[in-house]
Amino acid sequence: MNHLLEIKDLSVAYGDVQALWDVSAHVDEGTVVSVVGANGAGKSTLMRAISGLLEPLSGDILFRGETLVGVPAQEITARGISHVPEGRGLFTQLTVQENLELGAYLAHVRPHFAASLDHVFTLFPKLKERRGQKAGSLSGGEQQMLAIGRALIARPKLLILDEPSLGLSPLVVRQMFELIARLHDEGVTLLLVEQNIRQALKAADRAYVLQTGHVAMQGEAAALLENPQVQKTYMGALD
């Protein structure tokens, strides 16, 4: 079977500092895949390489069988990958509505805008109330909802969420993972980056553990959750 996304021996540098070494991974259609690891393990670097914000040193990234290496970021978005970056990447000076409209910037997405917008507003009723407000005036949780909603407008074949729970209150974090479960049920393919490893493994089908730029462990998320080494290294203190 062909994978939706396949990463082969990817090495990436951030300026003069290499951040990823020979990383291989894959994402199948309809699944949720989590990439977990400590701060600075290279998780965000991997996501930025996939969405074209960083040029890899070597290796290949295949999306539906075609390479993404050398393809500009906006073209990768057009091919069906929506990336909600770390820090959310909202346009804070624009209104909620305008942010959502830009989610439908691509010509092939625009005709479905009204329907997608309805869908996003059913997922996040708060956004409908605040559509005229500047995005910068929203709370952290609302901003994260807007960022995810804006990415969903484009009806991506693959949705990348980079640390969606970062900086949110525990209640909102729970809502966030409920949302991820719901998107999973709707058949959205998700690549999830998280520092919150327990939650991320619970939400995922498969998972990769990154350690200083290498894949340290990989496999079924449920199995990793039970793996004593994972428990010891990443969840020890918490239990």
């Binding site: 914000l53 929506s82 970056p85 990447g89 305008e98 910037y105």
Partner: protein
């Protein structure tokens, strides 16, 4: 106690300041757009305005085309030239992290264009005298020239058009988005080269409008563009970079500073005072005088 004569004088100085400042404002709006997406100060903006003024002059003298009517030709022509200039001169440099390359290309372009103008039309100052250049009307007892008033209308209309474009159209919103966060804009599928080219095209079209306003009201020479660009920069700094309406207001404020200081101090020092204000604003209020809620990313 002010007598009638000096009140009239102050009104006249005020109105002239506003009229001239509006031209700085239009130039500043163009700079603001280009800076927004490209993060460079397009120092050649003033020289493009002067070039447009020369084209208006040429159309008037060769074909007898009315300078205001020539806006119909000059603005679209400038728009296309702006997009082309981006494509061939700035596209490659825009992708570089080092913005100095773009800045220096703009410096080279300014140098090139002003000397081409000087070669084609000689370095001597030119002006356009139409049948209505001397016509004026009275407000509060002060005489106001028709051409300067039309220039003000052009400036206001051009700024309003840009604001509408940025607020109402999807592409305009994309330009605003890219100005705030280019990478996030790319993740929306927005092509950075497209928004950069649009910013350049509109910046040049505004220069075309400002060129018409300049050609009909004041004499101009090939080297005037540089000081014009500096004034536009001051206007931009006063208004706050990235703030379109602020840029226009900054231009008008600068026009007032100049016209009052050249009357009360001396014409030669007006420039130095303007630059001094500029330095002070750069250092103490880099977000501009009209910024209300400025958020630095």
């Amino acid at each position: 106690m002010l007598d009638i004569l000096s009140v009239r004088l102050v009104v006249e100085i005020f109105i002239n300041g506003v009229l001239f400042g509006a031209m700085y404002g239009v130039a500043a709006v163009g700079l603001s757009l280009i800076f927004g997406t490209m993060r460079i100060i397009f120092i050649a903006q003033g020289t493009i305005i002067v070039l447009a003024a020369y084209v208006v002059y040429w159309l008037f003298n060769t074909f007898g085309l009315d300078p205001y009517l020539s806006l119909v030709v000059v603005a679209p022509l400038a728009f296309a030239t702006g997009a082309t200039t981006y494509r061939f001169l700035f596209r490659k440099a825009a992708a570089m992290a080092d913005k100095n390359t773009s800045l220096l290309i703009a410096v080279g372009l300014m140098f090139l264009v002003q000397n081409v103008i000087s070669f084609v039309w000689t370095p001597n100052p030119k002006s356009i005298i139409t049948s209505y250049t001397a016509v004026g009307f009275e407000v509060f007892g002060s005489r106001i020239s028709v051409t300067r008033s039309i220039s003000l209308v052009i400036a206001l209309a051009a700024t309003a058009a840009v604001v509408l474009f940025l607020r109402r159209t999807l592409v305009g919103k994309a330009v605003r988005a890219a100005s705030e966060n280019m990478q996030a804009a790319m993740l929306m599928g927005i092509d950075p080269h497209r928004v950069n080219a649009i910013a350049f095209a509109i910046g040049f079209a505004l220069a075309g409008a400002a060129g018409v306003a300049l050609a009909t009201t004041y004499p101009f020479d090939p080297y005037y563009g540089f000081s014009f660009a500096l004034k536009a920069l001051i206007a931009l700094a006063l208004g706050g970079i990235g703030n379109v309406v602020g840029a226009l207001l900054g231009g008008i404020l600068l026009g007032l500073i100049e016209s009052f200081s050249s009357f009360f101090i001396s014409a030669g020092w007006a420039d130095a005072i303007a630059y001094a204000v500029f330095l002070l604003v750069l250092m103490f209020r880099p977000e501009g005088l009209f910024a209300t809620s400025f958020k630095k990313a």
